[in-house]
Symmetry: C2
Subunit: 377 residues, 2 copies
Amino acid sequence: MRIGILGGGQLGRMLALAAYPLGYRCTVLDPAADPCAAQVCSHIRGEYDDYQALYQLVLASDVITYEFENVPVATAEWLAERKPVYPPPQALAVGQERLAEKEFFTRLGIPTPQYRPVDSEADFHAALRDLGLPAVLKTRMYGYDGKGQAVLRTPQDCQQAWQRLGGRPLLLEEYVPFERELSVLAVRSRDGQVRIWPLVENQHIDGILHRSLAPAASAEELQERAAEYVCRILDELQYVGVLAVEWFQDGPRLLANEMAPRVHNSGHWTIEGAYTSQFANHLRAITGLPLGSCAMLTKNAVMYNFIGTLPPLSDILATPEASVHVYGKSFRPGRKVGHVTLVATSTEELEEKLPLWDELFARRSVSTTDAQNGLPL
Amino acid sequence: MRIGILGGGQLGRMLALAAYPLGYRCTVLDPAADPCAAQVCSHIRGEYDDYQALYQLVLASDVITYEFENVPVATAEWLAERKPVYPPPQALAVGQERLAEKEFFTRLGIPTPQYRPVDSEADFHAALRDLGLPAVLKTRMYGYDGKGQAVLRTPQDCQQAWQRLGGRPLLLEEYVPFERELSVLAVRSRDGQVRIWPLVENQHIDGILHRSLAPAASAEELQERAAEYVCRILDELQYVGVLAVEWFQDGPRLLANEMAPRVHNSGHWTIEGAYTSQFANHLRAITGLPLGSCAMLTKNAVMYNFIGTLPPLSDILATPEASVHVYGKSFRPGRKVGHVTLVATSTEELEEKLPLWDELFARRSVSTTDAQNGLPL
């Protein structure tokens, strides 16, 4: 089976590496000359609206998927007329536009922070009057890793944010004083079978995911709620593949922040920590194979991203329970260049080792409030 | 870091796949036009004594290793004059000649079945008088998967075996009525650190490894003994990389059968079942990185080889705890074309599921005595 992937970053790379044990081969389409996935599989160079390149991908693939959600929906639809495309293009349309996404959640009865569309300065002021300060102003499209967002605490913040972001379709959201950010990853097969990995707690620095803890502590009830919500989304979209949904926890409530119709950074721990990794299960789903178990193999798993640069491997691997994933990307500030996963086979082991791991792999300490919406207040 | 690998079979393929997360790239040298490792990394086509091809490998590599033990020692030595070669060529010399191997074990005080070199028909008769029947006649070189062996129970067997194998350097071994066959995998780093995975119980069909169970049941004392023996071997050879040693268990005794200076089929379960896989630790060792933990992540892991052909993936993966590894090889009787690993997080789970797994993945049941030396009596 030949898998086509739109996007050749680290998610495409890890998909391609997970494809080989299934006997599959991947081809990524990416505009870059040397995207990191191209080191491990075939590469067609082209923009996501270059129909000659897309046609090449159709010829090279039996089934097509994507590793990021900013693929033009028209591209996904054009491909879907020629080869099976999973997840369905409709999921892209929802996942890449924050207003559509929030309205979609609302329509399915899934709680979200309060939000108002902002298409003009007048809308902005009306929305500010409605929601009050603090609030968060976000672009509706092309946001990731905290980009295209501003936290507003003062009238001055509002003015500055409008100068920076105004003129594009925007969204104003209430600022939720959440306890922690969680994410759930789920996978749905072509015949509608659903499996869900345990809820994960995520911590950000400067808007970029820094650390994921699986499973999130004390989350049995939240797990049930997240599972119920995510099943509504999967069924509504007749989804196939892995879906990630990020949540703010506010007491017993889960507020949907955003969803990503693809494998997700907060699921990297599944490579070592779960019976089946998100990459393997995504490939199984889109190729019509039965899904693997999403249960944890270990009691706990912790993933740290390496942002901008990578410590020497000899430093990372001096911790015997560390598994490293180098993405083969050049170093650049703010860029995800690798991650490390550590597993613990008991709660005692986690409690003993987590402070050590944090010291080794945390760039700097991060408090929950700092991480709010990925941006410092 | 660029890794050169002599041999492009499934072991080279899985080494190459384990190399990418470390940020390494591999090149295999293999005489075949399309060895299965070439699907996942670079390939230089050439015989193992083709010095032009070997020179290309030297240029393409920072460090060189091998995935099978029948590489000519002269080749390994020639390469070692040009680039670091691990495991050391001396380990090849010992591992590829059964008499040298047995004498090496004996010199280190490691028990083996009794053996006699056989270089002539007169030697053969003298050895048979010494060791009696049953006995096992083996070629000294190029034996694998039960090839080049004959079990002798009757004078007629002796005559037939001599006709088939006579004229080559041979070895006669006593037939050990062993309880089970075990193997131990260990890894030694460039600075002499040693880590050892749990003992594994192996079962063969027609001389080919069929099923490995990790850890071997009731093996605490045997584990200590095996660890002590394997450390003697590693230290004596100033070994670097993964070493596999196969044992016959005869009551409380471990008798060394053979060693393989490479990653080994009976260690495939480590991909899912251990903190660090044999492939990752082999690469860490030969590139001077710290070794990862060899502890088990799960309570139990079971690996079944697929020989000759592969069931449909949908059948294999209908078992949710199954992880499959397809090698990308064409199907041929007796050829290893893939394997599946299943893990259990408790002894109860193993006891419940093992009969099911056996039914699904065992080609046919195999009794311990049938598996003696990999050959039916």
